[in-house]
Symmetry: C2
């Protein structure tokens, strides 16, 4: 893959997302979402903050927003009640799945 092709792919994927009215997530939020769905659980606020090299409130706020969109859910860890475990949701899994399919579809549409 050449950089020009990569950029074109990225553009086409974003354009399709924007046009179909998908939630306008920031880069950080999308990174958090994909990490939750691709990396093995459990996921904690602290762990995500370390993985993304951002502060904890950034994670908390992103979870607020994506929780309202039902893309993720939060549950108190019963073994260590300081922790919050972030879990996947049906809606979130569907969103991520469709997103992945969208990338593949746009990749196939690209000129060679």
């Amino acid at each position: 893959m050449r950089p020009s092709q990569a950029l074109r792919l990225w553009q086409q994927v974003l354009l399709s997302q924007v046009r179909e009215g998908a939630p306008d997530l920031t880069m950080r939020q999308t990174a958090i979402l994909l990490t939750i769905y691709l990396d093995p659980p459990p996921h904690t606020v602290r762990g995500l903050a370390a993985r993304l090299n951002v502060t904890k409130p950034v994670i908390t706020r992103a979870l607020d927003t994506m929780g309202a969109l039902k893309l993720v859910s939060r549950h108190r860890d019963e073994l260590d009640k300081r922790n919050v475990l972030i879990r996947r949701t049906v809606e979130g899994a569907l969103f991520v799945e469709r997103f992945g399919d969208g990338i593949v579809a746009r990749a196939h549409e690209l000129p060679i």
Copy 2:
């Protein structure tokens, strides 16, 4: 490319952008930026709004933000002074170029 690989690539690219402190653009802003740099000029507010299927103020505000970041610049069209022509900048071109290189680099790092 399979969906799981596509998602993993997307995650790795976003993670690298977030970790290195790149500006936290929204999906819409990134779509606008890439369209300006990949599609042939001239670019107008109205044209971009139509291409992304969003309202004009969305474009105006995104240009405000990305203009402050020096990723794009605005110039009044001298032939039709109602129009504003959006132009590329050196900083923006560098940002987009590095972004494209980043995608290719993450693609090469991926497990087969």
